[in-house]
Symmetry: C2
Subunit: 262 residues, 2 copies
């Protein structure tokens, strides 16, 4: 009987290979099979020197490996005694279906572990110098998926205006609807807002402005492929203005200002 392998659900962090945890790097180096999201940067995947590596989705708008197939591949490799890494963008348990994969492994009797990663929800604001909490400004923050109103409306339609910093992942397409909703619910039009594109990558770019201008913000065509994180609340004013000391250089534009890592 082959001894069971183990599956490590590993967070790849926001993009920079130096922002993986020490354990994540170790698991990748020791892995025999790596199943990675399509959006994990190649130089992170390349840390798995000896493993068989499989890209298994998901890139918006393109066909990807169905979740059931990913789970089937993990279970099969573990039953063959392999050390398997399931490598997911950001943190495996934040909007990444890591919980579903953990449940499937539990039900199949496969040993697994979670190796948390830096979630883009916190690391992207930090890249722009934005703390999600700040004494006197915000003692709480909310993270919502912006992919559809069903995901964010129940929270954003009820939360007291300005009672927390709001962070939205996967919300570039719905930013206009989100801004209108918050203002209708009493958030001031001048509430600071920021968008961080491609956080912790060479393409990182930041827009900072007012909530009332958020709906008009558009990435440039060159930026259209970059994942974006939206921050709404008083601390978003830290973007570009004070963020990261010498690391960011800014310029002012109508309806907000933009800056990039230099």
């Amino acid at each position: 009987v082959t001894p069971l392998g183990i599956v490590s659900l590993v967070g790849a962090g926001p993009g920079d290979p130096e922002l993986l945890t020490v354990r994540a790097v170790r698991r990748l180096q020791e892995a025999e099979v790596v199943l990675h999201d399509a959006l994990v940067p190649q130089r992170v995947v390349d840390l798995a020197i000896t493993a068989k590596r499989l890209g298994v989705g998901k890139r918006a708008g393109q066909p990807s490996c169905p979740e059931e197939e990913i789970v089937r591949l993990m279970i099969r490799a573990a039953r063959r005694g392999r050390r398997v890494v399931r490598l997911k963008c950001g943190d495996p348990f934040v909007l990444g279906r890591g919980g579903e994969e953990a449940l499937a492994l539990t039900h199949a009797g496969i040993p697994y572990e979670v190796v948390p990663g830096l979630s883009t929800a916190l690391a992207a604001p930090a890249a722009a110098g934005i703390p999600v909490t700040h004494r006197g400004l915000s003692a709480a923050f909310v993270v919502v998926s912006g992919h559809a109103p069903a995901a964010y409306a129940p929270v954003l339609d009820t939360l007291a205006p300005a009672s927390a910093t709001v962070v939205i992942l996967m919300g570039l397409r719905t930013a206009g609807d989100i801004a209108v909703r918050l203002m209708a619910h009493g958030w001031p039009r001048a509430t600071p807002a920021a968008v961080i594109l491609g956080a912790w990558t060479e393409d990182e770019a930041v827009w900072a402005g007012a909530l009332a201008d958020l709906g008009d913000y558009r990435p440039t065509p060159q930026q259209a492929h970059l994942p974006g994180t939206i921050v709404i609340g008083a601390t978003a004013a830290f973007a570009c203005a004070t963020g990261q000391g010498a690391l960011l250089a800014g310029m002012t534009r109508g309806g907000g200002r933009t800056c990039a890592r230099v």
Copy 2:
């Protein structure tokens, strides 16, 4: 003229040295001066092999170095050309006054960078196998400081019941008040709740039960010094039940069940 040094605001993560990022380890190894929170574990501080190391607070109920003094020490060392690491528990920009320190460095003209760390807000639930989001159960999560009602009441008194997973840091003392508030606002008494003590340390322990029982939960005297993270919402039911495969072993008690890392 001495060239300016640089200050790295570094997140130490939840406690396990392997859960620091690669960059955090590198910065500690290269540092000449390290100013660390009292609660950062010694074996993390010890990664700074050659640095002068100073504990600068803050441990609940004990005298600590005032924030102004911490900032003064950072600025003085940087002006002497030193590579300075300000090492903070979890993530520097989550309930850690990292934003205040970043502003002070900006105003003093000191170059700085942020090296994000794993926030306990996400890593503690993950330690217990709890995803903060899960398809069909929760598309959003809220993180609040539980240290005083002024911090959490504006959010918890308005957020629609069960619209998001709620994560509370520093809330062991106020857990009873928080549970009463949520139930008064319409959260079902049977809503799953969990408490993770000492996440990612040898002392890690998890309690899982219902929101109605949360106020009666108490750590044992041996656990009284451990930091605790509270999770409230459907996904908290994953604690102990399915968490971390073979890594957790559980037992049932009246008013909830408990488990620990084995």
